[in-house]
């Protein structure tokens, strides 16, 4: 990636080759800096969660924030997810902008009632008299060799709830900007973070904190190709990119789209792509039935019916609970399963 242009205040730049606004970050560190920036920008932003204070969260995403912003802005809460979200709702009524951390996606369900019944509906119930600028950060996905409830992908359960928005970042630049955009939004947002990529050195990327970010609820073509369209989000984006790289070495150019926003969906770029490639392979770690990929496939057949050269395909987790982690390499969509689906689509 080329170094971005120097910012206007580049007088203070120490390294002439890169402006000071550019830092090489992991997804985890980018989230940390994004949260810090959001807290600096607005003193109504609070962080609530288990172990988010001194410990900095079990993944260290809130590292150092309590030290710098104090215990009234970074709250180590009692161990009660309904409490975290239920009080965040009340704090939002009072005018705060709470950012909740759920430790692992498998623990969000005690809070599901508050998310569904209050967080998602108060704006509609009151016809806009009460806003719910609440962000719920959820580390999700598998591949970390963990015990039960630490590797799931429940995002479609939330994308199904009217009144909520759902996004997922897949790289450090998006991590830095999307978390800030979610916090600035006046709507409640479930922010799904690909936990196995938090500290991936391979995904480290230069983040220009002076850049202008893209809108939050836009999908993005991240690799251009002609043979087929791969659509993924969160942890699946990297799988799609790896598959595209492998296919390219054999002469097949795959287009890859990072969905970014799971609700609302921005499928126009997907339709455009499929109209060119004629083939769709949608990828997610969640079980296939009634998943985000179900929705993508349904909408693509509706919008691109005459362009399709093969049925729209899906590569997903299986319709089982998440298996013991010794089996997760089989459960998780990987490069081979994606390429297998590409082959089927190409040879239809």
């Amino acid at each position: 990636m080329a170094a971005p242009a120097k910012s206007a205040n580049s007088a203070t730049v120490n390294h002439p080759e890169a402006p000071s606004s550019v830092q090489n970050l992991t997804i985890g560190k980018a989230l940390n800096l994004g949260l810090r920036k959001a807290m600096e920008d607005n003193d109504k932003v609070l962080i609530l969660g288990e172990d988010v204070g001194k410990l900095g969260g079990v993944f260290r995403i809130t590292d150092g924030l309590q030290k710098d912003f104090g215990e009234q802005r970074v709250l180590d809460t009692p161990l009660a997810e309904s409490g975290i979200i239920g009080t965040a709702v009340g704090l939002a009524v009072r005018g705060f902008r709470p950012v909740c951390e759920i430790q692992f996606e498998g623990f969000i369900f005690p809070g599901f009632d508050q998310i569904n019944s209050q967080l998602a509906k108060l704006h509609y119930r009151t016809q806009g008299k009460i806003k719910m600028p609440v962000v719920i950060r959820v580390p999700y996905g598998g591949g970390i060799g963990a015990v039960e409830h630490h590797s799931e992908s429940p995002e479609s359960l939330f994308a199904h709830l009217a009144g909520l928005k759902v996004v997922s970042c897949a790289n450090p630049v998006d991590a830095y900007w999307m978390i800030q955009q979610a916090i600035t939004s006046d709507d409640p947002i479930l922010f799904f973070e690909p936990k196995r990529l938090y500290h991936s050195g391979a995904l480290k990327a230069p983040v220009d904190t002076a850049a202008t970010p893209e809108p939050l609820h836009k999908s993005r073509v991240i690799r251009q190709g002609t043979a087929a369209t791969l659509v993924g989000y969160g942890p699946s984006v990297q799988v799609c990119l790896d598959a595209a790289t492998a296919a390219s070495s054999e002469g097949t150019e795959l287009e890859v789209i990072d969905l970014r926003s799971l609700s609302p969906l921005d499928l126009a770029p997907v339709f455009d792509s499929v109209r060119r490639t004629g083939r769709l392979i949608a990828v997610n770690e969640a079980p296939s039935e009634s998943s985000l990929t179900s929705e993508i496939v349904a909408r693509v057949q509706q919008e691109c019916f005459y362009s399709l050269e093969a049925p729209a395909m899906r590569v997903t987790g299986f319709d089982t609970p998440y298996p013991p982690a010794k089996l997760e390499e089989h459960y998780l969509p990987d490069l081979d399963r994606v390429l297998h689906a590409v082959d089927r689509a190409m040879n239809w």
Binding site: T77, S82, G86, V93, Q118, R125, G163, L265
Partner: protein, 408 residues
């Protein structure tokens, strides 16, 4: 208020039941059964017979309540009851989809509602029509919810009265968050001399809700964050068909001790008692000594809602016994006996209540149905092209009927 041993009754020493050794099983059952007796710990300023009972602790909190104020409390309760009966009747006529009667709980709601100051915030469940009235919400604005034409549209911030919450117990955590916010904003514990404005929050829930995890979590959170929150539990003895002993082995107010804050039981049919105890509790919260649990021991004299049939699960004897403790009648007797009001006053109040009901009725009958596009409005704060498209498609589908000669 120096130690938990005195919390059950502020300043009453260590003899209160909340702090004595384990109650016997017989005591537990006696304390829980749907009964007319609130037990030895019941705080009461006005007996069912209309006798004023002195209370060194709570009298100061109603020292300003002269005959005129008591007449106003009486008027509030009569109007709220009359409106409640009118709404119930309108449901029977098919004008409301459902009604949730408050009959019998007027004192608990008016007493606690009138204890609030304008900066305080109240989080109701769905039966708190009386509290809403006390907060200045036009009773008409409650009807849309039950006519199913809206979901509550009063000015929540101006009235300090949050939307109704239908999922049992959810509002307790929401209220707790709001109260935490009051504290974070420095609206708690400011000395009077500083001129600082203190605030508190009250949340309403019933005996059934005390079994919900959210209420437990609300107790825990409010306690550990010292939130200025009054938990106002109207124990009306019945959670639809389930009596209080299906929710607890312990009188509900005594649960507070386990969470580390004061709990007290007030005669929920005593408007003066409810006013005094709630003022005490709100003061404690504003001064930074919250939270507080109040159990208002009362009785749901009508059904859970208009869809309910209490004859299937309780005896009418019980209702007859509670009628003797009617919240309005005791104020009437007290006023009469003390020369505070004559027949003209009571007739005037009844007339005002009838007028209020007639106005309510006329309003309800002429309420317009919401237009179809209302389905799609305000799902999100930010623009939603997806929903705009869905709305436009549906409206154009509806228009197709008009074009075809039908009526939309």
């Amino acid at each position: 208020m120096s130690s938990p041993e005195q919390w059950a009754h502020p300043d009453q020493g260590a003899e209160s039941a909340a702090t004595t050794v384990q109650p016997t099983p017989e005591q537990v059952i006696a304390g829980l059964r749907a009964t007319t007796e609130g037990g030895a710990d019941l705080i009461q300023l006005l007996t069912p017979e209309g006798e004023r009972v002195p209370s060194p602790i709570f009298d100061p909190y109603v020292a300003d309540v002269d005959i005129e104020s008591l007449r106003e409390l009486y008027r509030d309760m009569v109007i709220v009851r009359r409106a409640d009966r009118e709404a119930n009747a309108m449901q029977r006529q098919g004008q409301l989809g459902i009604w949730v009667p408050l009959l019998g709980q007027e004192a608990a709601q008016i007493g606690s509602g009138r204890a609030l100051l304008s900066n305080d915030m109240a989080f109701p469940s769905y039966r708190e029509h009386g509290v809403g009235y006390a907060r200045g919400v036009d009773f008409k604005e409650l009807l849309g919810i039950f006519r199913c034409s809206d979901q509550g549209q009063w000015d929540f911030a101006r009235h300090g009265f949050h939307p109704y919450t239908i999922v049992i117990g959810n509002q307790v955590l929401n209220a707790c968050g709001y109260a935490m916010g009051q504290k974070f904003e420095g609206k708690v514990g400011n000395p009077e001399s500083s001129g600082g404005e203190n605030e508190a929050t009250i949340c309403y829930f019933g005996d059934g809700a005390t079994s919900q995890g959210d209420v437990h979590e609300g107790f825990v959170w409010a306690a550990v964050y010292d939130a200025p929150l009054v938990f106002f539990c109207q124990n009306n003895q019945w959670a639809i068909s389930e009596p209080t002993e299906r929710q607890s082995r312990l009188p509900l107010y005594q649960r507070a001790r386990g969470y580390g804050f004061p709990g007290m039981r007030v005669d929920g049919n005593d408007v003066l008692g409810c006013l005094a105890v709630t003022r005490w509790a709100l003061d404690a919260c504003r001064n930074g000594n919250g939270p507080v649990l109040i159990e208002a021991f009362t009785y749901r004299m009508d059904a859970h809602t208009t869809t309910d049939d209490p004859t299937r699960y309780r005896l009418s004897d019980e209702l007859e016994a509670w009628k003797l403790k009617d919240p309005i009648e005791r104020v009437r007797v007290h006023l009469t006996r003390n020369g505070g009001a004559d027949a003209d006053f009571f007739a005037e109040v009844d007339k005002a209540a009838d007028d209020f009901a007639a106005e309510l009725r006329e309003f309800c009958f002429t309420m317009p149905d919401p237009p179809p596009e209302r389905i799609f409005s305000n799902v999100y704060a930010e623009p939603s092209p997806v929903l705009d498209a869905e709305r436009d498609e549906f409206l154009s589908y509806l228009d197709g009927f008009a074009t075809a000669g039908g009526e939309r």
